[in-house]
Symmetry: C2
């Protein structure tokens, strides 16, 4: 049985980035840029005023006061029609293009309007260029503004607008098909009959997928029956990843691996040395140039979550072009020892982790939750971390340091 | 002019949580639960097997080995039809209901099938209840499972399914109308003519809104003209928040405040003692039981971002029912001093902050970026924090401690 690290390496080897696609700006948030973006204009595109005020020749205010003739007023979106000459000024708005001949802008707060055509300015003698941002001083047309492989945040969206890139080329959001399997499953809206339980994994996995900025495609519940499994799995293979829950442990009706083989999915591993989540299955299919990664997660909810965090999330991120570390692992001190842990596999144990992010200097601490095992979603809902216990038996004291995987 | 803290208090006073609404599970992720959720069933709903194996009477394996008659096999979704009696066993799958009479389950790994009807078990003598999870041991029907005011994450979505809550009552996602104003604005896809610039604020504010789990409603660009402003602002007042960019500084065509007054929006403040972003306008309207908060942000992109982070984001979060602190402020050490800062207002300065979240113990440090002022989106795109410099003049050395607002 392979280790978590070895399994993760195999997953990441298969998790090639998706082919670049051009998307509208409204869909680019959270995607990774696949090409450099250059500007199609100088920024600012003209010598512009940084304040509301009066554009003047500097010599006119050498004494600190001046009465000047107002030539015109340039509002935002308008262009100057007259040159500023000695003894004259143009009223100008923030961001508007500077009229020819002007050398500085005096803030409107330093001006007193005498009548419609005349203004009195009183200010320190201006230096040339005062309150003026020169054309191209921020960046030049053709200059690279955002490098490829940038994860696009809200400010990048604004910047893409500014430089005229209305449809950036990005790694598209991975489509993640989600299929729950099992004769016992009914939907949340139904009342289970004896022997039945509600399908909590499908909606949970869809929510986890949304949180990684991927697109979940919910394929419902497949019965433990060959024809139904075949039909739904075939549909799921159209996506970039297919996540199955249930059907991969050693039970009599665990038909999933054979249907996957039949549909051309090559098994890469089955079973990983971890707890919970040992029976996890992973494979890949390449058909007509399209690769689908297939994960079979155990049917119980906590195993499903652990399998998602350890393997599916990093695979989604790599296919989306992100190069971040696959997991956020921190060192933290146990807060509520003594705690005895025994097992023959690496164990991922729900905990709350107090982050140091809100203090200049701090230690991270973890509090182990009173967990009832792999079906106990209620306890897991309170967790924000999984403490990683190595195989073997050990009693941990308060203050002992452990690894914790942040959720 | 009021301070940032005073302005924030006024904003939060107005930012009442939205009325609860019932939403499908697929829309509940990231929302705050408005009512307690109780379970409509026991969990587990029956005594269930925690492993794949054989349900037996403990006395039958007192010696550590036994050959037993197989009565039936209970697959997932099925129910037992026969009682387990001495000398007999029922094959059972993980999660399936235990047959009457059985006292323990022996793992399938300890069993050897002799023929279709007989099995040999070899294991330590079992204790009563071994590998059995008793009905209701996780929680009971009617028990409160998720308290109100919980921010729903993916695991809560699974838990809501489990307890039969297919349509939770939550604070709905705030609808945030976004309206850019200015005759000079054209869209990202257009080539600006002289005097024109592209509208980067609208798409950036929409992206910022999406990231807070609110729904942006983009109302396009309003011209500096009364009828157009009136029409679009009236449309925006249908939303829970209306965010305008541009039109609130002292310029000749800054018509926004008067149109807002005319449409019944009461001004709460105009201008805050900060840089960049001083001209920010805030008001509120209550009409037919519906409250809209209105923010007028300055038109330049960096001021817009700062105004959003300081005031709009906390308002969205409160209206969504979240009670988190309005800002993430950390203490951090300057990494690239000396740096001289002067100004008559509190200044928010773009920086990168190295978080301690990935180490057990660490200091946070900030690196001030080479920022060119309030139109410089490119530098801002690299920032993940704003250093908060108090008014006045001071030279900061490397290692000096400052406040930083995390973006």
């Amino acid at each position: 049985m392979i280790t978590v690290d070895a399994a993760l390496r195999l997953v990441l080897e298969q998790a090639t980035p998706l082919a670049p696609a051009r998307v509208p700006l409204g869909h680019a948030l959270g995607c990774v840029l696949a090409d450099d973006v250059a500007s199609d204009l100088d920024s600012p595109p003209w010598d512009k005023s940084m304040v509301d005020g009066y554009a003047i020749r500097v010599a006119d205010l050498a004494t600190g006061t001046a009465e000047l003739e107002i030539l015109e007023e340039i509002v935002a979106g308008a262009v100057p029609t007259r040159s500023v000459v000695p003894g004259a000024t143009t009223r100008i708005m923030t961001g508007a293009p500077l009229p020819p001949g002007s050398e500085a802008v005096v803030m409107v707060e330093r001006a007193e309007l005498l009548d419609e055509r005349r203004v009195r300015l009183a200010d320190k003698p201006p230096r040339p260029g005062q309150n003026i941002l020169v054309r191209g001083s921020s960046f030049r047309r053709g200059e690279r503004i955002i490098p490829r492989d940038t994860l696009l945040g809200p400010v990048h969206i604004g910047l893409l607008c500014e430089v005229g890139c209305a449809e950036p080329v990005v790694r598209p959001r991975p489509r993640v098909a989600i299929l729950s399997t099992g004769n016992e499953l009914v939907s949340a809206a139904e009342t289970p009959r004896p022997g039945q339980i509600r399908n909590s994994n499908g909606p949970m996995l869809a929510a986890l997928t949304s949180k990684v900025n991927a697109t979940p495609i919910e394929l419902g519940v497949a019965r433990d029956e060959l024809a139904d499994l075949r039909r739904r799995i075939a549909a799921g293979l159209e996506s970039d990843l297919l996540v199955l829950s249930g059907g991969v442990s050693a039970g009599v009706l665990d038909l999933v691996p054979s249907v996957l083989a039949e549909l051309g999915v090559a098994q890469i591993f089955h079973k990983v040395n971890l707890k919970p989540g040992k029976p996890i299955w992973f494979g890949s299919r390449e058909a007509a140039g399209h690769r689908t990664l297939v994960f079979g997660l155990p049917g119980n909810p906590v195993s499903s979550l652990v399998g998602f965090e350890l393997f599916v999330r990093p695979a989604i991120e790599r296919r989306a072009g992100r190069s971040t570390a696959p997991h956020s692992i921190v060192r933290a001190l146990i807060d509520n020892g003594p705690f005895t842990q025994r097992g023959d596999r690496t164990t991922y144990y729900p905990a709350t982790c107090d982050s140091a992010a809100h203090g200049g200097a701090a230690r991270l601490s973890v509090r182990l939750l009173p967990w009832q095992g792999s079906a106990d979603l209620r306890t897991l809902a309170a967790a924000n971390a999984l403490v990683v216990f190595p195989a073997g038996e050990r009693t941990y004291a308060t203050g002992d340091e452990v690894d914790a995987l942040l959720l």
